[in-house]
Amino acid sequence: MEQHLQDLYEVLSKVDGYVYPNEIELNWSILIVLYPYITGLVAGAFILASLERIFKVHILKPTYGIALLTAFSFMLVATMPLISHLGKPFRAYEIMITPHSSSAMAIFGFVYLWYLMVVLLLEIWFDYRRDMIIWAQETTGVKRFLYRVLSLWTTDISPKAVALDNRIGYIVTVIGIPSAFLLHGYVGFIFGSIKANPWWSTVLMPVIFLFSAIVSGIALVMLIYILLTKVRKLKIDMECLDTIAKYLFYILIIDFVLEGLDQIHRIYEAEESFEVLHKLVFGKLFFTLFFMQGLFGTILPLLTLGTFQFYKPKEKIRKIIYLAISALILIGVFFMRWNVVIGGQLFSKSFYGYTSFKTGMIGSEGYLMAAVWLIVPFIILSFLLWLLPPWKKKEELPETQGL
């Protein structure tokens, strides 16, 4: 408490121009930067998985399982930064019990649950049911018990039953694609619908969030795939990696165009808030916007991936570059979220001045806590990859292949 007040006094001494007295404190901190970031990774990873399943891009098969489990691991954690940021975390359930119908945020609980329970959980279960039954027969002890529980004690792996699994899995994925769009588009709407804030209030916000989400999710699966094959000392499927890179390139173009359009529109219209935002962009957001998000997170990956579309260097070099590019994109999208969430609170709604952002390493809203929420999904993912290794899935008989 004392520390919090001290921090506020320090921020007060650094206020540039005039801000409303209640605006000195930044209300949404790094945890709220993480929340759209993590949900974005979920949506993106799921879209990549559905490319294989629905759009029949079978070349992406090696990443299908990884993408699904990645989406699931991050989804489990997605609400944690939000809940731990609440002033009254133990009242979080009220959003579910007494949602306010006109609040964009109130829909969150439902969209989240729908996506987690109905889409992701069902898809993974139907995808792994047959394998879990087989693994339960092949293993002993706790692991065997786990598989039996997870498969809900089902035992039928007849071709007919497996065909039904595939059919349901397919339907769930079909439902999942618009759900993924809804999940993340809606997160963008939370910001885009705030008319009080000209940095947020744009009709493009949900679409921008969606496409940057897809970009980040694909980049994450790409990174995990490269690292996993390295750890497992296997030869990487370059054709698969090139295809992912191709999709990444296309969606990055859309994302770049949309964000560019948003800014051009803002500059051309040059409304009342233009001056304050102009100074914000060239001042407090200069480094994170132009360098982290723009140059490293967008332009460099775009140019590199673009070049690869007609000139492909040797596999070894390409692999290293893909690794670097995916990491850069992940950092870039993180800073995109940063620039939206933090940037939107740095200027006063009086348009007469700027406050600043201060957070420490420790504390429930410090950098360490944020790092925890970014690391936990990887721990969950490691466990899931151990329990449900996609590479150990038994090949299905030809007649039971998906629809």
Binding site: M1, H4, L5, L8, L12, G17, Y18, V19, Y20, P21, N22, E23, I24, E25, N27, W28, L82, H85, L86, G87, K88, R91, A92, E94, I95, T98, P99, H100, S101, S102, S103, A104, M105, A106, F108, I190, S193, I194, K195, A196, N197, Q345, S348, K349, S350, F351, Y352, G353
Partner: protein, 254 residues
């Protein structure tokens, strides 16, 4: 060979379509769309409170801001205000300087030399008790609400402290109470209103720059004030249905 008959005939398609669309329409009739615009109709009966502030009369003594803190136990630190005063100074070269040290509680010192000043004035700020409150609209649990008298309140036993309303308020009138973890804002001293008293900031104002009253009562002081002055709300383009009307509001004020 004739092509196989499609599984879903056109008739079936239209039938299913009609049922779905009709079903949605019927369901919608039972749960009427309560967008903030519709919810914000001015009631024809009962009280409908509004506020008037005469900028020409404000002397920047800051008594309103300090009375508010005392009356409502607002934290003393200069980051939490339900009511504050801003000093606007427009220099000869057109530069606008806005200041509000400690919300004006300790009074003001003019930082610009007199010969450089084109004009200067004070603007008391507080919750606008909007009729189409963006803060009420976004609250995920409905902890903040408008009373039938048009006062925007917060149920602190219900607020989850998500801070969405703080982001949604265009006037910076909300803060998170540092001890409670829930949002806090002007209540128009409803605890005094129910006793027939005026809100603290109105009662203490030495120049009667603040006028409080019932917009539904044609004889009220507020309606008299609104009739006889050219009044404006802040940020009218945001269509928040603000019920805080300023006389002599300069375009510089935001």
């Amino acid at each position: 060979m004739r092509p196989a008959k499609p599984k879903v005939s056109r008739r079936d398609f239209f039938k299913a379509g009609t049922i779905i669309v009709g079903g949605i329409a019927v369901a919608s009739a039972f749960t009427p769309y309560d967008a903030v615009l519709i919810a914000a109709e001015k009631p024809k009966k009962g009280k409908w409170y509004g506020i008037g502030i005469d900028i020409n009369k404000c002397i920047g003594c800051g008594k309103c801001a300090s009375a508010c803190k005392l009356e409502n136990n607002v934290p003393k630190a200069p980051f939490y205000f339900r009511s504050w005063v801003e000093q606007y100074t427009i220099k000869n070269d057109g530069t606008i300087i806005v200041e509000s040290p400690n919300g004006g509680i300790d009074g003001f010192k003019q930082s610009v030399p007199t010969n450089e000043i084109f004009k200067s004035f004070f603007v008391p700020k507080m919750c606008n008790h909007c009729a189409k409150s963006p803060c009420v609209q976004v609250c995920p649990v409905g902890a903040t609400f408008e009373t039938p008298e048009g006062i925007v309140l917060v149920d602190e036993n219900y607020c989850i402290g998500c801070r969405y309303c703080v982001q949604a308020c265009p006037y910076g009138c909300r803060y998170i109470h540092p001890d409670k973890g829930t949002v806090d804002k002007c209540t128009l001293c409803i605890h005094r209103l129910v006793k027939g008293l005026q809100p603290a900031c109105f009662e203490i104002c030495p120049t009667e720059a603040r006028i409080f009253g019932d917009l539904n009562d044609p004889e009220s002081k507020l309606n008299y004030f609104l009739k006889n002055h050219t009044c404006m709300v802040i940020k009218p383009h945001l269509n928040t249905g603000s019920k805080l009307f300023y006389n002599a509001l300069s375009s510089e004020v935001r």
